[in-house]
Symmetry: C2
Subunit: 313 residues, 2 copies
């Protein structure tokens, strides 16, 4: 039986790079006992630098009661690292063979009722868990860099993952102060990276064609869509920008623009079904809020974001 | 001869919708005399609602000295609207025929040394200016919605636009409190919309395939890449995330991932030339700042952005 999510006090972070180290910092800030596994003792100074940087920001955002750097233990023995852990966050290098070997070992030494989450940004859990004898408790738990600041964790199981492990991870990450997003399907890149990657590849196309420099790309993002995207997301940004008609107006009116060469990425066919999914989805997010209310909140939040950026420039 | 950019005191905004109305609010907040042209007097209440909403945010961000709503004049006669204007921002509906007719008329009634900027998000100035007798002073000046908050203005001329008009627009928008981005080429969608559109189309693909809901898309953006993109842009985000190796490490190490199906958009070939352009571009932005300094600033700014969003939630 999986441990009660709200009674977890001890987690293990495997890996001391920006991701594994960042996770350790996050869990410490949320008041957990954290065991950090380093492959080599020589990685300690680099990890400590990450932790020190992260701790400043975490303190600024507000530590949980009981949070303390004294609750960190660093070990280089894997058996010792997982001992007593009630959750394991794995952030080993992005190499499938290496991860498969690691999960085979973890499958043997970690009790089968302990969930293991992988930080992988590109590999599929179905592949990672292939050689693991107890794959049912292994899930993807993909953070965004820096993992101690950005709240998102994308969660999805592999073919052999039990549904209850996915549910457990969702509840646990939420209690641990993250914003979990359980994916509908196991797709390469998950949701957030796919969105970012589409944008990134279009940026590379523009630089390759001499249409923009890296500086142009970043100026355009920072001063254009990004501050709004940070408070509203792209779906609700379009929904609210179209007034009372919302996403329905957006798609019915600007749908034909999906055929225009405004990016190298060809859009999907705008079927009635896709249109309705978008409209229903945005209406669901909006609930009973009118567009004026949402636009006013968007503006208040963009003002706050712009001031925050300006005041820390 | 074009007027001196720093002596402009009177601008005309054509169109009273969210874009034209938003521009009027912006110019008023920056201390200009503003004449707003409405196609129909009945559009006045909708415009006043936009102005009222915008003015709250603009006041919060800080008005320029002399800024006053008393300096607004609303007219429905185009000849009267452009009288005495030292700059014209055109935000008529996104219809090429309509814009061509408008620019033909503007070409006749606006003195030839007055620059006209178009807010169009999808049309090309070469097409818009086709029937204009004085096309050399017509440029694209594309804002991001809401135009009174997001600083970006993308600038590019058409085939018949004079280089000095593009330069003038860049200088004028800068003085008027915007962040101008002069484009290298006239491409459909300009820079920022192309980036946003690639992301948007990938989002539609995911919704069409049942991989994510609109809610998932927005949760992923708001809690993942967007707050970081608002402070760093995507190029510098990758540059700084790769430590001392920067963009060179990113491309040399993760270049092969550009072949992975992490989005429906196929990446360009990662030639030596493209690699060097990305690396040189990021090094230029970084100047003599080390990656630790830039990472620390990124974190401070993300903390401020997250707090700003939380405090206005």
């Amino acid at each position: 039986m999986l441990p009660a999510v709200n009674e977890v006090t001890r987690v293990t972070s495997i890996g001391g790079g920006p991701i594994g180290g960042g996770w350790a910092a996050h869990f410490l800030a949320r008041g957990y006992d954290v065991t950090l596994y380093l492959h080599d003792k020589d990685e300690t100074p680099a990890f400590m630098a990450i932790l020190e940087t992260a701790w400043k920001s975490l303190t600024d955002l507000g530590l949980s009661s009981g949070a303390s750097l004294d609750r960190l233990k660093i070990v280089t023995n894997l058996n010792e690292a997982v001992e007593g852990a009630e959750f394991i966050q794995e952030s080993a290098p992005e190499n499938l063979g290496m991860k498969q070997t690691l999960y085979k070992k973890l499958g043997q030494i970690v009790p089968p009722d302990i969930v293991i989450g992988s930080s992988t940004s590109g590999l599929m859990m179905t592949d990672i868990q292939a050689g693991c004898a107890t794959p049912e408790r292994t899930v993807i738990g993909h953070p965004f860099n820096p993992p101690y600041l950005l709240p998102l964790v994308e969660i999805v199981g592999g073919k052999k993952t039990a549904a209850e492990a996915v549910l457990w991870a969702e509840e646990f990450y939420k209690i641990a102060g993250k914003v979990p997003l359980v994916m509908k399907k196991e797709i390469p890149g998950f949701v957030a990276t796919r969105l970012q990657e589409a944008l990134w590849r279009e940026a590379l196309h523009m630089v390759a064609n001499g249409e923009a420099t890296p500086e142009d790309i970043d100026i355009a993002l920072i001063n254009g869509p990004a501050p709004r995207m940070a408070v509203q997301g792209q779906c609700m940004a379009f929904h609210v920008a179209c007034g009372a008609g919302g996403m329905a107006t957006n798609l019915d009116q600007f749908g034909p623009a999906l055929k225009l060469p405004w990016t190298r990425l060809e859009a999907p066919e705008l079927t009635k079904e896709l249109r309705d999914r978008m409209v229903d989805g945005c209406n669901k997010i909006a609930g009973d809020r009118g567009f004026e209310e949402m636009a006013a909140k968007r503006d208040r939040q963009i003002v706050a974001v712009l001031r925050a950026i300006r005041d820390t420039a």
